[in-house]
């Protein structure tokens, strides 16, 4: 009974917080939440993680329609900045916000960090460098590269003007290290499924996990889901696009190819390029242009691609000289490139790359895939939704036109937009304002302090 009362209080408080626009929800933003049950305000309502199953109510059928009964959700945690998605953008956003002084919680759908970078085996960090050899991805992204450098053999090529290739396992390990050092609360195996919204203002996130459906309350949310799951749930405007969906794989024993015999036949296709692991190549696969949000399509892509990769490696093994080549692994994550794209206050546009536009609210500088063109600035407005407040986009789902989507989605550019979103979210919490009203000069100053390159 006591427990129920407390939950009701909690919901009232959520409503109140809507009126007061996030005033002092967690008291001291700088002190990072010490874990479940210890943060201020709602201690008593935070449910012991083991008991959450109790609150479940099965769906039922009413008049032939499947109905999910209304129910109260347990609040697992509360935080200043909640980052949903632990990919390259989300991890950098979380670290940046934490270093800027906010308490940060990171929610990730898989069991590892890095998203498509590591789980999708997108190990070539293309876009790190622009024409002329300048490295535009600095700050936390560059710190990650330096840390990977130190993990022996993790990066094979970091000559100036050359994009680095990394080892996915080293990157996963490196991110665990960085997140622990920063002191970020992490919930893995949690899939952010809904936004908690009052009066067009995001108050937190509902997520699904083995522990059931739970909520995390936050003063600012960073949507680093890649698919824009949360800004879409919160009612922000977005575009739904199709793009190529592929699957990366790694093949081994390429150092044991018999060069003498290999000369007899044409070189097999889909051999990929070298990775830091000797004899192992990573093989990209672009795939057809499909809707990356459609579950039937995703299922078909997984199965088709896996069949192709297996059969292709068998064909390679039948090529003289290549008999010992084998399939090391297919990527755990399907290579979904672009799905939802935010309609932001501003937009990353191809015309601005062409005209080398300088934005007064620049929060990052992006590079290109083949160092064929110069640097391009990312305006803060591209991260901010037009209608909904307290949520920022980071990574491939920021506001971007068709011509630039293929650049925005590159790993280093995700580092850059994640860095910007993390710092901006922390500043919004600190200054107690909506993300759209943050002091840009302050955001830029902190970004520069964190060694980001802003042109």
């Amino acid at each position: 009974m006591d427990k129920h009362m407390n939950r009701r209080e909690c919901l009232t408080a959520i409503g109140l917080s809507g009126l007061t626009a996030g005033l002092g929800l967690t008291g001291a933003p700088a002190s990072h939440a010490q874990g479940v049950g210890e943060s201020s305000g709602f201690q008593s309502s935070v449910i012991d993680a083991h008991n959450v199953q109790d609150t479940r109510t099965a769906a039922t059928i009413v008049d032939g329609k499947v109905i999910q009964p209304q129910r109260e959700l347990p609040i697992l945690h509360q935080t200043d900045v909640l980052v949903v998605g632990g990919g390259s953008a989300g991890v950098v956003a979380a670290i940046a916000a934490r270093r800027a002084g906010a308490s940060v919680t990171l929610v990730e759908r898989y069991g590892h960090f890095g998203g498509l970078w590591t789980g999708g085996l997108v190990v070539l960090i293309i876009g790190h460098i622009v024409k002329g050899g300048k490295q535009v991805c600095q700050g936390i992204g560059e710190e990650m590269m330096r840390r990977l450098d130190k993990l022996d053999g993790a990066i094979i090529d970091r000559r100036p003007g050359v994009n680095p290739t990394v080892d996915a396992e080293a990157a996963k390990y490196m991110m665990v290290e960085m997140i622990e050092e920063a002191g970020i609360d992490v919930f893995l195996h949690c899939w952010g499924v809904d936004a908690i919204v009052t009066e067009n203002t995001v108050r937190g996130v509902v997520f699904e996990s083995k522990s059931g459906r739970q909520a995390i309350l936050a003063r600012t949310v960073v949507d680093a889901t890649g698919d824009g799951d949360l800004f879409a749930a919160a009612g922000a405007e977005f575009e739904h696009r199709s793009h190529n969906v592929g699957l990366v794989s790694r093949i081994g024993n390429l150092d044991r190819v018999d060069a003498e015999k290999a000369r007899q036949a044409p070189k097999p296709k889909h051999l990929g390029s070298a990775t830091p692991v000797p004899g192992v190549n990573w093989v990209n696969l672009t795939g057809p242009e499909v809707d990356g949000l459609d579950i039937a399509t995703l299922t078909r892509m997984e199965m088709n691609h896996r069949k192709f990769i297996w059969n292709n490696v068998q064909r390679t093994r039948q090529t003289p000289g290549y008999e010992k080549v084998y399939l090391v692994e297919t990527a755990p994550q399907l290579g979904v490139r672009i799905t939802r794209v935010l309609n932001g206050l501003n937009r990353v546009r191809l015309s601005d790359l062409r005209n080398a536009t300088k934005f007064p609210d620049v929060v990052g500088v992006g590079g290109s895939s083949a160092a064929t063109h110069g640097e391009w600035q990312i305006p803060y407005g591209a991260l901010v939704p037009t209608k909904v407040d307290n949520i920022l986009a980071a990574g491939r789902c920021i506001s971007v036109d068709m011509g630039m989507a293929d650049l925005v989605r590159l790993v280093p550019n995700c580092f850059v937009t994640g860095h910007a979103a993390g710092v901006a979210a922390a500043v919004a919490v600190k200054d107690n304002c909506r993300p759209r009203d943050v002091d840009i000069a302050k955001v830029q100053k902190i970004l520069r302090q964190q060694e980001a390159y802003l042109g």
Binding site: I126, N244, G246, K269, H270, G272, V283, N284, L285, T286, G287, P288, E289, F308, N312, L350, S369, A370, T372, G403, M404, D406
Partner: protein
């Protein structure tokens, strides 16, 4: 044909000392003005004025295209004055004349003697105008104003300096055989002589029985010249170089005629803001030597730009609006899948991204299990943005190729 005589000597005899000084000053001023106008190629369409002053180019292109462009009126005006005042243009305006005079003087000082026998000018005029009637003005490019303009190609593309070759040859010839150019070889000078001769003939005929008798030698020469011109034009026109068809600037008329009508003035090469026009260096056949060809190594033909067409004096490049330019493609891209990064399953979206007309899409091939670029020929204008953007080295995977038959051309 007294006006074929030594121009400088003749004018020195008839002019007073005061007039000579004024004339010298005017010639210097017009030389400076011509240089300034030609150097302004990228900022304005003024450079068209220099070669357009030539009645030889005006009449040649008029006969060949049967179209009167506005700038041709300039040349026709100069031609009209030449009927009343023989060689007026040479003595007062011609910027090349002053350069040639200087070279001739130097030659004389070095003890060179003028050649007396050989007078190719009238042949050049005859061959060219006869060819022009067939749509192929053979030697129009020998016009002195085109030769002079061409020398400023040095400010255009990397190989633009080769456009100065004709000027160099003219000056060298003038040094070796002083005054041979203005007096005996220059087609513009000769053409003016022909015009004034005709005017005089018409005048005398009106005034009474012609004192100028039927000249069988002249008639024979004319018939021979016209026949030779027509034959040569027909041969050159039909001669196909073995290599691929050259890529011409937008608005270019069809291929064999283009080679004839282009005066090699280099205006388009200088005017191009993206430096994609360069002179042909012979790999498109000798007949196409120094004509403008396009390359898309680093840049492309801008959608809204019409600068090259605006500065063409001869009508080899027809003036099109930016919209009409899009309807007359320069060429069509061909994709070489053996170089294309997509064939290796690599992430590259450069050609699609930079296409200003969204004419490129990447189609998925279930058999190859890769993407293959597909070009929508209805949208493509052949601007070369895709080729310029293609990152593969040393050979670009996407190349613009001239079309076998121009659409709507």
């Amino acid at each position: 044909m007294s006006h074929f005589a030594d121009l400088n000597g003749q004018s020195d005899r008839t002019d007073t000392a005061g007039l000579r000084h004024i004339r010298w000053l005017v010639r210097c001023l017009s030389l400076v003005a011509a240089i300034l106008v030609l150097l302004a190629a990228r900022q304005s369409r003024w450079p068209v004025l220099v070669p357009a002053l030539s009645p030889f180019i005006a009449v040649g292109s008029l006969l060949a295209t049967r179209v009167v462009v506005a700038t041709a009126c300039l040349g026709l005006g100069v031609g009209f004055i030449a009927m009343l005042r023989p060689r007026w243009f040479c003595r007062w305006i011609c910027p090349l004349g002053l350069c040639v005079d200087t070279a001739s003087r130097l030659g004389r000082r070095c003890g060179r003697n003028p050649a007396k026998r050989f007078s190719p000018g009238r042949w050049i005029v005859l061959l060219t105008l006869a060819g022009a009637c067939l749509g192929y003005p053979l030697l129009l490019w020998l016009d002195p104003l085109a030769v002079f303009s061409g020398a400023f190609g040095i400010t255009g593309s990397r190989t633009g300096w080769l456009m100065a070759l004709p000027l160099f040859l003219v000056l060298t010839t003038s040094f070796v055989w002083p005054q041979i150019w203005c007096g005996r070889a220059c087609p513009l000078g000769t053409f003016q002589d022909v015009l004034s001769h005709l005017a005089r003939y018409a005048r005398t005929k009106r005034e009474g029985p012609s004192p100028e008798r039927w000249n069988p030698a002249l008639a024979r020469r004319t018939v021979l010249g016209v026949a030779a011109g027509a034959t040569l034009a027909a041969i050159t026109r039909s001669s196909q170089s073995s290599g691929p068809r050259p890529l011409r600037p937008p608005g270019a008329i069809d291929e064999p005629e283009f080679r004839g009508l282009c005066v090699r003035c280099g205006n388009c090469i200088r005017a191009c803001p993206t430096h994609i026009i360069e002179p042909s260096l012979g790999h498109h056949g000798l007949a196409a030597l120094l004509t403008p060809v396009l390359h898309f190594k680093e840049n492309y033909c801008l959608v809204d730009c019409t600068k090259c067409m605006a500065v063409c004096p001869s009508g080899a490049l027809v003036r099109l609006s930016p919209q009409d330019k899009g309807l007359k493609p320069i060429g069509l891209p061909r994709v070489d899948m053996s170089s294309c990064l997509l064939a290796e399953g690599r992430e590259c979206t450069e050609c699609r991204r930079w296409c200003p007309h969204a004419a490129i899409r990447y189609a998925w091939s279930e058999t190859e299990y890769t993407l293959i670029p597909e070009i929508d020929s209805r949208k493509c204008t052949g601007c070369g943005a895709c080729e310029a953007a293609c990152p593969t080295k040393p050979n670009k995977a996407i190349l613009i190729a001239a079309m076998e038959k121009k659409a709507g051309g």
